[in-house]
């Protein structure tokens, strides 16, 4: 069943990702990305990372993309000014590089295909919590500083000067 779910989820994820990148309507972009992120959350669950799956939805779908949506609406859902690409080289090179990245990923896969997973792994909240407050405590605390800095930075950027 896991394999079937994966293929379903992968198909949904890829299609919605394409929609998220290619659609002209920014609201559709954001919503499609929500779907993609959902599929990634399911993939996490399939990989045994249940806490991450929940956090993925909570953080990305619940907060980050809502923020996107909020901004899109605040700016009046601006569509791109004109459809034409002003930089033909950019378009060609971009597509080529993206394809190259995908091919590179596939090449890596070819190297690891044979290996079997080391075993079932349950990324429960407890297991991750122990690591976060133990081995990675410094990074964990540092993230809080980063978030605070981002908060202040965002505030400063957006605040209107009186």
């Amino acid at each position: 069943m896991g394999t079937a779910v994966f293929y379903l989820v992968a198909a949904v994820g890829v299609v919605s990702a394409i929609a998220a990148m290619a659609h002209r309507n920014p609201v559709v972009n954001v919503l499609s990305l929500v779907v993609t992120l959902f599929s990634i959350a399911v993939s996490y669950a399939l990989l045994g990372a249940e806490f991450l799956a929940a956090a993925q939805i909570l953080v990305y779908a619940g907060a980050i993309l809502v923020l996107f949506l909020f901004v899109v609406m605040l700016l009046g859902a601006p569509a791109e000014p004109d459809a034409g690409e002003s930089r033909p080289f950019q378009r060609t090179a971009g597509l080529a590089l993206a394809a190259l990245a995908a091919a590179g990923g596939a090449a890596v896969v070819a190297a690891i295909h044979a290996a079997a997973p080391a075993g079932a792994l349950r990324g429960t909240a407890q297991a991750l919590g122990v690591m976060l407050t133990g081995e990675y405590l410094f990074a964990f605390e540092f993230i809080s500083v980063l978030l605070l800095a981002a908060l202040v930075g965002a505030l400063v950027l957006v605040k209107r000067k009186h």
Binding site: N25, V27, V28, L31, V34, E50, F51, A53, A54, A55, I57, L58, A61, G62, A63, V66, L67, L69, F70, M73, L74, A77, R122, T124, A125
Partner: protein, 280 residues
Amino acid sequence: MSRGLYLLAPMISVTVALMTFIVIPFGAGGDITIFGARLGGLIVAPDLGVGVLWLLAVGSLGVYGIVLAGWSSNNKYSLLGGLRSSAQLISYELSMTLAVLGVLMASGSLNLEQVVARQGGQFWLGAIPQWNVVPQIIGCVVFVVAVFAETNRLPFDLAEAETELVAGYHVEYSSMKFAAFLMSEYMNMVTASALIVTLFFGGWTFPGMGRFSGWPLLVLSLLSFGIKLAFFLWLFVWVRWSLPRFRYDQLMRLGWKGLLPLATLNLVWVGVAMTMGWIR
């Protein structure tokens, strides 16, 4: 603007409202066996290890319905309602999560069944049931207020705000689609009440339940849960007819400057109390 999104919005609202309920334990099965299987706790998804996280994660998706509705209606009132709603939900979700964290710390588990089990059966001074509301009264108040805001109920229904925005995000909706929105709102109300009960008021447990087992326990636990749920549903309605609506800036100030510090304070208090051994 986009018919697909316009139709999608109420669906999202209803789906999300329904999905949250699956992790709430609403009764005790005890040792009853049905069709050869032990009934255990009455809960839709007992194996979901992330329990409360699921609740928070899915609950946070409810905003999409409102925002999309507001935007796809192609109406200024709707858009404003949607915008207000998204900001409001993000703001209050923070306080709510922090309040829930206090309970989780005290319970030591993300699983709501465990949360409930921790609150049942024991008493302080022989009479006060060990519900989380007693040591964490601040957290409880914060949670209740935040939940009011999360469900877009008065006094926080800025997204609808008849007097300013006519009907806010669902001003353009009618028939079944409008009904879907209202249904989701009321379902959210039920879920929220159930959460308050589960997290702070001992869930389905009731004083003296140790003397019962089997079918009587099942019935009494359902009854206990139902009565508590009904009380908070009544509270929702009571508040709706008692308090006027906040202004938007007041709402934001309350959320960020009132509830957030209080929730943090609650968290600190729980941590200190647990370290000192005042609560289990």
